[in-house]
């Protein structure tokens, strides 16, 4: 082999060198999917040149791609995205914000409560952040500014409520977590339910504290701001709740009752959203085309990151990178707690720069097996990381929720339509500062889950069998990291992640 002279030099350090190489490749600014794959392939060729493995090793690639194609769980990604995009244009969020805002408005902090409530409701219907942030930024923000809400509080509460879509089922984060950790999506959803609700409550608590101690930051709306009153308002409020509750039943209800798999739940939700838009006469050709186009592009880049991460992962395990990571993480002081704290800090810091897709596809497969060997339940671990990664949407300056809010918040001075007064714009700095209290709440939530693990309800039934099966595979892989074994582990994995009621 031509490159064997390199063996004494780097042979023992291939994994760390490859990892550093990955960081450089990713920071190059070239699309992540291809940088990941190129890094994997470059080190595969290096490894082949040094005689670490044979060219046959790369024959496993098409099978891996095929495994991704045939993955039923990932099918939920386009379904929920499509559903979110259709819902966004169906006017459901607008109706909710308008009515619930009027209902709660006259209490101190009421509009902010309405935003959180509607944010949680939208989060439970779909898994897309942009939709809620944009509707709330367009509808609630101008009203909050008109009546003198603190700008930081107003923008922070909107951005944070939008990110609830990431943790309250049916969220895309949880689907990908379940897929990467080899657990069922349904269990992951069940585990995330209570943390999602606690988080919502903590947002409400924060707003209540602000409203109590600094009333001028979250004033009550004057009653004239209502266009509806009395029983009319009450009936209208109940009516607007029907569509989201119907969708929540269609998606979450059917999943939790075991009638549908999460993938089918997503499909039914998407169909339901189409029906809803049709009933509101908002469905037209260009709307569907835009939704289809955006969904296709999003699916394409997400799945290609997964393809790239799979190429990287295959080679990284080939150079014993998994053992290196395991050694690194298990040698941390403090045992399990030390591991959890280190992993959470790592994710929190990386979330400043990376999307959750990148974190989930690159890092989760590396830390997941280590967590499992330490005896940590992977559902619990997945929900914990999910709450942590939710902050990646709120981190200044790259958080997407902030970015979406910026795009719809007034950037120049404007004249308020109702009062006719000249209003100051929302500065980017205000948006950034506004997010910080909510990032802190998120950190508190992560700490709470670690301190009180029972917050995440974990069902013990099938989980145990899965983990047993996987440990066996791990051993095999260590002994003989050939392409063939990797394939069989891939298949095993698939079988164990099949949903109940799937293929029979």
């Amino acid at each position: 082999m031509p490159l064997e002279f390199l063996t004494p030099l780097i042979g023992d350090h291939m994994a760390p060198i490859m990892f550093i190489g990955l960081v450089v490749f990713l920071l190059s600014g070239y699309p992540v999917a291809f940088a990941l794959a190129a890094n994997g392939l470059m080190f595969a060729l290096l490894g082949i040149g040094m005689g670490m493995f044979t060219p046959d090793f790369l024959q496993a690639l098409p099978n891996r791609v095929f495994g991704i194609m045939a993955n039923d769980t990932l099918l939920a990604i386009p379904f929920f995205t499509f559903m979110g995009l259709i819902l966004e244009r169906s006017g459901m969020a607008e109706d909710l914000l308008d009515t619930i805002g009027q209902l709660f408005g006259p209490i101190r902090g009421g509009l902010a409560f309405a935003v959180i409530f509607v944010g949680a409701l939208l989060a439970a219907t779909t898994g897309v952040v942009a939709a809620s942030v944009i509707s709330m930024g367009l509808i609630s923000l101008p009203i909050m500014l008109r009546y003198g809400y603190d700008r930081k509080l107003a923008s922070g509460v909107i951005a944070a409520s939008g990110t609830l879509a990431q943790i309250i089922p049916p969220s895309l984060v949880l689907i990908i977590m379940a897929d990467q950790l080899g657990r069922s999506v349904g269990d992951m959803y069940a585990g995330a339910m209570i943390p999602g609700l606690i988080l919502t409550t903590m947002y409400v608590g924060y707003v209540a504290l602000v409203a109590f101690f600094k009333p001028s930051h979250a004033p009550a709306l004057p009653l004239e701001a209502r266009s509806l009153t009395g029983s009319k308002l009450l009936i209208r409020s109940l009516l607007v709740l029907v569509p989201p509750l119907f969708l929540i039943f269609l998606v979450l209800g059917t999943i939790f009752l075991g009638i549908a798999t999460p993938t089918e739940g997503g499909a039914m939700g998407a169909s339901g959203a189409l029906l809803l838009a049709m009933s509101k006469k908002k469905l037209n050709w260009s709307l569907v085309r835009q939704a289809v186009d955006s969904t296709a592009k999003l699916s394409s880049f997400v799945l290609f990151i997964l393809v790239g991460a799979t190429v990287f992962g295959l080679v990284f395990r080939g150079v014993n990178g998994d053992l290196w990571v395991e050694h690194l993480l298990t040698s941390l002081p403090g045992g399990e707690l030390g591991f959890l704290i280190a992993v959470n800090i790592l994710f929190f810091v990386l979330a400043f720069f990376l999307d959750f897709f990148e974190l989930a596809f690159i890092l989760v497969p590396l830390v997941g097996p280590v967590a499992e060997k330490m005896g940590i339940d992977l559902i619990w671990f997945g929900v914990l990381l999910g709450v942590n990664m939710q902050t990646s949407f709120m981190h200044p300056p790259f958080g997407f929720a902030l970015f979406y809010l910026r795009s719809v918040a007034p950037g120049k001075k404007y004249i308020d339509k109702i009062t006719g007064k000249m209003m100051d714009p929302i500065t980017t700095k205000q948006i950034y500062w506004g997010a910080i209290p909510f990032v802190l709440i998120q950190i508190i939530m992560v700490a709470l889950i670690i301190a009180f693990p029972d917050i995440v309800s974990v069902e013990k039934k099938e989980v145990f069998d899965d983990s047993q099966a996987e440990i066996v595979i791990d051993v095999e892989e260590e002994v003989q990291p050939t392409a063939q074994t990797n394939d069989s582990s891939n298949n095993q994995f698939k079988i164990s992640t099949d949903e109940p009621g799937g293929k029979k």
């Binding site: 490749f25 920071l27 600014g29 070239y30 699309p31 992540v32 291809f34 940088a35 794959a37 190129a38 392939l41 790369l58 024959q59 098409p62 791609v65 194609m69 045939a70 039923d72 099918l75 386009p78 379904f79 979110g84 966004e88 244009r89 952040v129 942009a130 942030v133 944009i134 509707s135 930024g137 367009l138 895309l172 089918e264 739940g265 499909a267 039914m268 169909s271 569907v288 289809v292 186009d293 969904t295 296709a296 592009k297 699916s299 394409s300 880049f301 997400v302 799945l303 290609f304 990151i305 720069f353 999307d355 897709f357 990148e358 997407f400 970015f403 979406y404 795009s407 009621g501 293929k503």
Partner: protein, 196 residues
């Protein structure tokens, strides 16, 4: 260079057509999956062929839309370090990345995927699930998609060179619709406010 540019335009046009067409498979997948769920629990009927069709459709979408997504410059990048550099530097990054990352990746995958698909076609491979679909068209998708992606990669490199020579406007390969976990916020916002 002009010949190369017309080649690049041709690839762009083909991949845009394929991508926009394949995107509709998403809607088909939604409907197929909904019907699968309803018939199984409504009438206790289930068919492996229909279950497999869901992922066939989705695999078709994400594989065949990848070149178009590349053309629209919507594959996620990490631009923390390189974000503030000039368009010329970005063009160079894309040239080097295209030549060193994307094109070699496509070639290696094609090298292994062509025999993979060929074996399947030669044996007229069927699904291992009873009553499932034929498998070889799905396996054939892999080399087809990576060939298209390879061509699109070449087209992108050509366009960047043309830009550096001042032959085309840099706007041509700017992000077609934003970056990130969800569609472009501004575009959506405009559509939403437009409706009002």
């Amino acid at each position: 260079m002009h010949a190369l540019l017309s080649f690049s335009r041709l690839i762009d046009a083909i991949n845009t057509k394929i991508g926009k067409g394949a995107a509709w498979l998403i809607l088909a997948a939604v409907l197929v999956s909904t019907i699968n769920a309803l018939t199984r629990y409504g009438f206790s009927m289930s068919s492996n062929a229909w279950l497999e069709l869901q992922w066939y459709l989705f695999a078709g979408t994400f594989l065949l839309c990848a070149p178009w997504t590349l053309k629209c410059n919507e594959h996620i990048r990490i631009d923390v370090v390189t974000g503030r550099y000039s368009p010329r530097v970005h063009a160079w990054i894309d040239i080097i990345g295209g030549l060193l990352f994307l094109i070699p990746m496509c070639l290696v995958i094609l090298w292994s995927a062509v025999p993979f698909a060929w074996d399947s076609i030669a044996s007229m491979e069927n699904s291992s699930n009873a009553g499932g679909l034929i498998v070889w068209p799905a396996k054939l998708l892999i080399p087809v998609a990576f060939t298209l992606l390879l061509l699109q990669g070449a087209s992108e490199v050509i366009k960047r060179f043309a830009f550096l020579q001042g032959l085309i406007d840099g706007k041509e390969f700017e992000k077609g619709g934003g970056h990130g976990a969800t569609p472009d916020a501004v575009e959506v916002a405009e559509a939403t406010t437009g409706n009002k």
